[in-house]
């Protein structure tokens, strides 16, 4: 069955085209047809379930932290347990949730469809990286259940060498190693797919900006992640054999470990945020029904962020005792990366100007993203400036800053993206009113949780503290209240999505009015995406896309 052979809004148009009886979800049946699938869409969906489960786990830990911190002392967790909880919160959120969330889950599903190909270049490798991710998950669960990891997600030496939770450190470092390769293979697959498999007509500058963002992300994944691999490998050897490269007791250098670690982990921040920016570019244009402002600027700034992102890792180490010259150079470079991010924010606003803004769930998440990400970005300025960073480093100011970027940025964009492409992935529409309610609750809860933490940090509250001075208690309690609000908003979002599977309307081909290729497929897409190469047009040409009440969605005027 060909999807694109027929124009959509011709008189011969039938509903059967829009609501296909045969699609990738029912293409084959049985457990093995999923477990051994090579279909990028099924792999993407499996990732989606996996990362959401990881997020639920990490989120539970987050709530445990916040509830513990309600009292300034004698919280309900012991110090040791608290340390393990915040470590696992960080490690699970970073390695199991944020890094694979958008690229591996949404990216896997969407990249070939948006590009107009049948699959990614290496489908077996794709399935392999999913199972590597699962292995990593199992190793993390081992670290969690057997002893409890207490090193902080950064595994700083020599603490990670000396801690008594050796088994957990080994399991977790090996887990990180495996997850790293999962991430590398995903990135490698995407780069090759975009480079060699674009169909006729899909030139670089006809690619949707989400694909540009994924491409930039993949570059980082391929270049940075191996260094993490060798770092955790050396750390495991450190624990097993005592090789001493990072152990000051054996004349090793712990600051070098930090260099190794952040050479990956700072670019990893852009692995997390770049695809989120890509999603927002899609969401803004589709839900404003208007071509994106400054397409090329956004595309170039994605690549610029990816490359500049490699030059700034030292700003995690300003107080670690780096040499002064390195410190100043890293500070200067840090500011270079702020400019492309600022450009993107302005471009998104420019897209809204004179558009037709549909205030639905994905759009509200996108607007929330812009608000929260701007705060996150701007609060990076006092952290990049050296003298103020001497005060803010390792305080709650940093905690609030990166939560604004990582959670207010990536998570909110991820949710926006999930809502946006949910009809495409599952073929069902969700309840938009409840979705909007979830977006508003998440927004309010988020700010209530993390705004007080800026104040806490600037007043000197250090991070990773199980107990604190009583003067900080009111702000901590405000934050805890916010976190519960936030948690309930996220729960509502999940319920809205799950409810749609039970009683959601069937989704039309193009429910939002997008112009990229995935909206030319049926919802859900057929097994092979496109039986013949699709006709590629401008991904942001909305002039011919109109609402058609007969199908309850948008169609392309011919």
């Amino acid at each position: 069955m060909s999807v694109l052979d027929r124009p959509i809004a011709t008189p011969g148009y039938s509903e059967a085209d829009s609501y296909p009886s045969h699609h990738f979800l029912n293409h084959s049946k049985g457990f093995l047809s999923w477990a051994l699938t090579l279909d990028h869409k099924r792999i993407g969906l499996m990732y989606l379930v996996g990362v959401m489960a990881s997020f639920a786990l990490g989120g539970t830990f987050a709530l445990m932290i916040r509830i513990h911190l309600w009292n300034f002392k004698d919280g309900w967790l012991s110090n040791q347990t608290y340390n393990q909880v915040f470590t696992l919160h960080g490690a699970i959120m970073v390695f199991l949730f944020i890094i694979p969330s958008i690229p591996a889950a949404l990216g896997n599903f969407l990249l070939p469809v948006m590009l107009g190909t049948k699959d990614v270049a290496f489908p077996r490798l794709n399935l392999g990286s999913f199972y590597l991710w699962v292995t990593g998950l199992i190793l993390f669960l081992t670290a969690l259940s057997v002893t409890g990891l207490d090193t902080g997600w950064t595994f700083y030496t020599p603490y990670s060498i000396e801690t008594q939770q050796g088994g957990a450190v080994l399991a977790a470092t090996f887990g990180v190693f495996v997850l790293g390769f999962s991430s590398i293979f995903t990135g490698l697959n995407f780069i090759v797919t975009i480079n060699t498999m674009r169909p006729p007509g899909m030139s670089w500058f006809r690619m949707p900006l989400f694909l540009w963002a994924l491409y930039a992300t993949s570059i980082i994944q391929v270049l940075a992640t191996p260094v993490l691999g060798i770092t955790v490998l050396l750390l495991s050897a450190e624990r097993l054999l005592g090789i001493g490269i990072f152990d000051p007791k054996l004349n090793g250098d712990p600051v070098t470990f930090q260099h190794f670690f952040w050479f990956y982990s700072h670019p990893a921040v852009y692995i997390m945020i770049l695809p989120a920016m890509g999603i927002i570019s899609e969401l803004m244009s589709v839900h404003c029904h208007k071509g994106i402002f400054g397409y090329r600027m956004i595309a170039y700034s994605s690549i610029a962020i990816a490359l500049f992102g490699f030059l700034v890792w030292g700003h995690h180490m300003f107080t670690s005792g780096m040499a002064d010259v390195t410190t100043i150079v890293f500070s200067a470079l840090t500011f270079t990366v702020s400019i492309p991010s600022a450009i993107k924010v302005f471009n998104w606003l420019g897209t809204m100007y004179q558009g037709t803004v549909s205030l639905n769930t994905p759009m509200l998440y996108a607007l929330a993203f812009i608000f929260l990400f701007t705060i996150g970005g701007l609060t990076g300025l006092p952290l990049g400036a050296l003298s103020t960073d001497m005060h803010f480093h390792d305080t709650y100011f940093v905690v609030a800053h990166f939560h604004y970027v990582m959670m207010g940025g990536t998570l909110v964009a991820f949710l926006g993206g999930v809502f946006h492409w949910w009809p495409k992935m599952t073929g069902r529409m969700f309840n938009d009113k409840l979705g909007i309610a979830s977006a508003i609750i998440v927004f309010v809860g988020f700010n209530l949780t993390f705004l007080p933490q800026f104040v806490l940090g600037s007043r000197g509250m250090p991070r990773r503290y199980a107990t604190y001075l009583p003067e900080f208690q009111p702000l901590h309690q405000l934050s805890t209240i916010g976190s519960i609000t936030l948690g309930s908003g996220l729960l509502l979002a999940l319920i809205v999505l799950l409810m749609s599977l039970v009683n959601g309307k069937k989704a039309p081909r193009n429910p939002w009015g997008g112009a990229t290729l995935e909206w030319m497929c049926s919802s859900p897409p057929p097994h092979d995406n496109f039986s013949s190469a699709p006709t590629v047009g401008d991904p942001y040409d909305f002039s011919t896309i109109e609402y058609d009440a007969r199908v309850g969605g948008y169609v392309k005027r011919t």
Partner: protein
């Protein structure tokens, strides 16, 4: 946003009171950045809200679908933020250079960090005292006494893992890295009692690894120095002082004092026979206590094999100091055993 502004108006809401020469520069730069942020953020939010309302989808309205592009405005919003961040970088770097360049003629303090206690040693070899504090989970904290209006140089070493020396009131922070010396300095400007935190995660009792900093007049500082080199004659009192000063109290409970973990309590142990991790029993006597101070892992008590390991005190305590500690631990013979957490 009103939250931000309200706090801005209230004095010292953003920052604790500044008490070093760095505070004005840091506070100025932060306030400047804050206003820059407001200048960027508020128009963005207003524009967003305005566009959301004016161009909202509604019957009878259809906006333009054409992509806009305006080179002039794009260059503007690239160049203006660039200029701003260059200034911010410059200010920050200048402030940092001030913090990094240690002047001559400083009052030197040796700081040794270990899990989970700060140890301060003054220029005359005297050591810090321990003061009772209220409202934090540690009942007592080491006290660092500093003279007002002097340049202070902090010479830092770590015995075990990474720590970080942070005094919010001084706007000064530096990691304490094992295997090397790290230095920092500041100029005290105001008398008072300030908090000192460890800000680099260091294990179980990281959040209790605090200290107090007391900035006093020159005369009082001299008196404090004299006091610092004295240790009581009475071995029991001396042992009690060492128990607090050397950081034993951060892990071991003695009577009603000290943390309840991760190390075993001294209460009611003396003279009894205790079980070791290896399964054998050993008498808790002078010999055992001395060995446990010098080589803590040799005979770990049962149930503590997995606890965070104690560092050896060999080379750090003199023989008579060890004797004093033994006397002190002996005095806990009949103290009530505290519940182990």
């Amino acid at each position: 946003m009103s939250f931000f502004l309200a706090d801005q108006v209230a004095p010292y809401a953003w920052f604790p009171e500044g008490a070093s020469s760095f505070a004005p520069q840091v506070d100025f730069l932060f306030t400047a950045i804050l206003w820059i942020c407001i200048v960027f953020f508020v128009p963005i939010v207003i524009a967003m809200g305005y566009f959301m309302w004016v161009y909202r989808e509604r019957p009878g309205y259809r906006g333009s679908p054409e992509a806009l592009h305006n080179t002039a405005i794009e260059i503007t919003w690239t160049v203006v933020p660039t200029i701003v961040v260059v200034w911010v970088f410059w200010e920050g770097a200048m402030g940092y250079l001030d913090m990094a360049r240690i002047p001559k003629g400083t009052v030197d303090v040796n700081v040794t960090a270990k899990k989970w206690q700060w140890a301060f040693k003054y220029e005359n070899g005297g050591e810090h005292e321990v003061i009772p504090v209220e409202n934090v989970s540690a009942k007592e904290l080491p006290l660092l006494v500093l003279p007002v209006d002097r340049d202070i140089k902090i010479i830092m070493r770590s015995d075990d893992v990474l720590h970080s020396f942070y005094i919010p009131a001084f706007r000064a922070k530096r990691d304490v890295v094992p295997g090397r010396y790290n230095y920092m300095w500041f100029h005290t400007t105001k008398e008072g009692l300030y908090d000192l935190f460890c800000t680099e995660y260091c294990g179980d009792n990281h959040s209790q690894m605090n200290a107090k900093v007391k900035v006093v007049s020159q005369e009082e500082y001299k008196k404090a120095l004299e006091k610092a080199i004295q240790e009581p004659e009475d071995p029991l009192e001396r042992g009690r002082l060492l128990y607090k000063r050397q950081g034993c109290s951060t892990c071991h409970n003695a009577g009603a004092e000290g943390a309840s973990g991760p190390g075993p309590s001294y209460n009611g142990s003396w003279g009894k026979s205790v079980q070791l991790e290896s399964g054998t029993e050993v008498a808790f006597d002078e010999n055992y206590v001395r060995e446990s101070i010098l080589n803590p892992q040799a005979k770990a008590r049962k149930g503590y094999g997995k606890a965070s390991p104690m560092n050896s005190y060999a080379g750090k305590l003199k023989d008579d100091q060890i004797d004093a500690l033994i006397t002190f631990i002996k005095s806990m013979e009949n103290a009530t055993p505290a519940a182990k957490k």
